[in-house]
């Protein structure tokens, strides 16, 4: 703990000096007497510092939340020696607001007493926030000396992006050999009837199609289409963003990524992630609840890192980008380097879907409305339309999403445009 004289101490010193000067000038003893309490208070500085012995502990109600949810911070102070005035400043990360209670507290504690206070913090933006630092200030009985300390006990709170349920998803063109929810063209074990053929030794009786057998006079069996899963790789553009936090294009892209990941994982697909930006970071495809945690963590960390260096996707290992995976590129199309990388993937034969997060409306909402802004946004929209048309011409499936409209609306177009699964494992 570091001790220091407070500004109040200097104020008292100034007033005491003023009183003594006036006393000498006016030759009135009352002013000497008036200066006496001020001087007595200052003399306490010469006394030995009191024994400061207290213990601080704090708890955060939840370590993992979704955007817009809140956590309760509870701070407990146990004093072993009397404390005249204890000031505490609880953690409040950038982008979060206090919903109930106060972030600051002032209390007086006797020896052996325990003080406790709590407040609720709501997180508006995703990320990993540290809630582990509490600023502590102890003041003496006159408030003219203070000791300061930082209580550090790391309490990270992971704020994951909001998820919206999705029903329409871009269908992968290729399936894997593992069991999933997609009806494959290949025949085998499954639920969907595919074809009938003549009975052969080894066929099960329950596969016999009795209606066809009676009509044709020979035994026929029903064949089913296999149900398979697919590899889905989400490619997030972290090269540039537009708008104001917590509603930048990257924030919306991350929410879209989290929603898509959740929906695909629910269909038993393997989902991977590539954060393509100043720093390339990836999560190799996987499935299940643990994979969702990995993806959500990676998405929570996603941030724009400025760089002039264009990264090559060749650095991404094949196990992260499986050859027959459907790649969903989520981008505001603000940086041409991402477009080039996406087109490179399409040229390499990947099944590519580009989900374009329009920055126009996001930017408009961040600016004060004016005719100039309207005109600029209209021109920008025209420019972007031309760019999207160029992507269409190159044979890339493009879905345009203009937040805050529902993502489902943008994805509904995918079902109409995407071909039925043609190849199967």
């Amino acid at each position: 703990m570091t001790g220091r004289v407070t500004p109040l101490g200097f104020s008292v010193l100034a007033v005491a000096g003023c009183a003594l000067s006036l006393a000498v000038l006016s030759a009135r003893p009352e002013l000497f007497v008036a200066a006496l309490p001020l001087l007595l208070a200052l003399v306490s500085l010469a006394l030995r510092a009191p024994a400061l012995d207290h213990r601080i502990a704090h708890e955060v109600s939840r370590a993992r939340i979704l955007e817009g949810e809140s956590v309760t911070v509870t701070i407990t102070i146990q004093a072993r020696a009397p404390i005249a005035l204890l000031e505490l400043l609880g953690p409040l990360p950038t982008g979060s607001v206090v919903v109930s209670g106060r972030q600051r507290a002032a209390m007086t504690l006797g020896a052996g007493h325990t003080g406790r206070w709590s407040y609720e913090v709501r997180f508006g933006s995703r990320g990993v926030h540290d809630m582990g630092t509490i600023a502590v200030r102890v003041r003496d009985r006159f408030g003219i000396r203070a000791w300061e300390q930082r209580h550090v006990d790391p309490k990270p709170v992971r704020v994951y992006p909001r998820i919206v349920p999705l029903r329409s998803l871009p269908r992968p063109a290729h399936a894997r050999a593992s069991v999933g929810d997609y009806v494959s063209a290949a025949l085998g074990e499954g639920i969907e009837p595919g074809d009938i053929r003549q009975f052969a030794p080894g066929d099960r009786i329950r596969q016999v199609n009795w209606r066809a057998s009676l009509r044709l006079g020979k035994l026929y069996v029903t064949q089913h289409q296999r149900e398979r899963n697919a590899d889905v790789v989400l490619m997030l553009d972290t090269l540039a963003e537009a708008g104001r936090a917590p509603d930048t294009t990257l924030d919306w892209s991350v929410r879209a990524g989290a929603s898509l990941a959740t929906a695909y994982l629910a269909r038993k697909d393997r989902v991977g992630l590539i954060n393509y930006g100043g720093l390339i970071h990836w999560v190799k495809p996987g499935s299940g609840r643990a994979q969702y945690e990995r993806l959500a963590d990676a998405l929570a960390w996603a941030d724009v890192v400025f760089t002039y260096v264009a990264k090559d996707l060749a650095v991404v290992p094949p196990r992260v980008l499986p050859p027959r995976a459907v790649v969903i590129a989520i981008t505001p199309l603000l940086d041409p380097r991402f477009t080039r990388a996406a087109l490179d993937l399409a040229a390499r034969g990947f099944d590519l879907v580009v989900l374009v997060v329009s920055p126009v409306e996001v930017t408009r909402r961040a600016l004060a409305p004016s005719p100039t802004i309207d005109l600029a946004c209209r021109l920008w929209t025209l420019d972007r339309r031309a760019r999207l048309a160029e992507l269409h011409r190159q044979g890339v499936a493009v879905l345009e999403w203009s937040p805050p409209e529902p993502l489902e609306l943008a994805l509904a177009g995918a079902r109409r445009r995407r071909p039925r699964l043609v190849a199967a494992g």
């Binding site: 104020s11 009183a19 006393a23 002013l31 007497v33 006496l36 007086t108």
Partner: protein
């Protein structure tokens, strides 16, 4: 609550010189001090309150000097205490602004101030008795020099103490 206390103390400090010497000049200075104190209390600023305390002191000195009445030790000690408590209460109000304040904070401060007030009154009575005893054998020509020297000595001592505290910044406690 705390600000109300500070405002009350400011009113008391402004009224005291006017009660001693009710002249327009003293009243005008008191109003200036009161305005400064109002600004400080309303805006939680420390410097207007410090300035107001100095103005109140100047007003008090002027009123005493013009009135040239008998020495009132209790009144002077009360004036000094009011100055200290006004400065402390504004500082405390500033500290606890937008904070969850435990009720014990106010109670303990009021209790502490009461004890300190009584101690100050006793110290003042003792100091005046001591000064009276010393003043009797002293030649009148030396008294102003001794007073000035004493004041300078006290201020120097306190300045040295503050400098030591500021420089040491030693670590205490856990």
């Amino acid at each position: 609550m705390i600000r109300l206390l500070a405002a009350t103390l400011a009113v008391v400090l402004a009224a005291a010189p006017v009660l001693i010497m009710p002249t327009p000049a003293v009243a005008v200075i008191a109003v200036v001090g009161l305005l400064l104190a109002t600004v400080g209390v309303a805006a939680f600023w420390r410097w207007p309150v410090t300035a107001a305390a100095c103005v109140f002191l100047a007003d008090y000195a002027a009123a005493l000097w013009v009135a040239a009445g008998p020495v009132n030790v209790a009144g002077a000690a009360g004036f000094g205490l009011a100055l200290l408590f006004m400065l402390e209460s504004v500082d405390l109000a500033r500290r606890v602004r937008r904070a969850a304040v435990d009720g014990a904070v106010i109670r303990s401060h009021l209790g502490r101030w009461s004890g300190f007030g009584a101690a100050t009154l006793a110290s003042a009575a003792l100091a005046v008795a001591l000064a009276s005893a010393l003043a009797t054998p002293m030649p009148p020509a030396i008294a102003p020099l001794l007073a000035a020297g004493g004041a300078l000595g006290v201020m120097t001592t306190i300045a040295v103490i503050i400098t030591r505290v500021a420089l040491s910044r030693r670590s205490v406690g856990r």
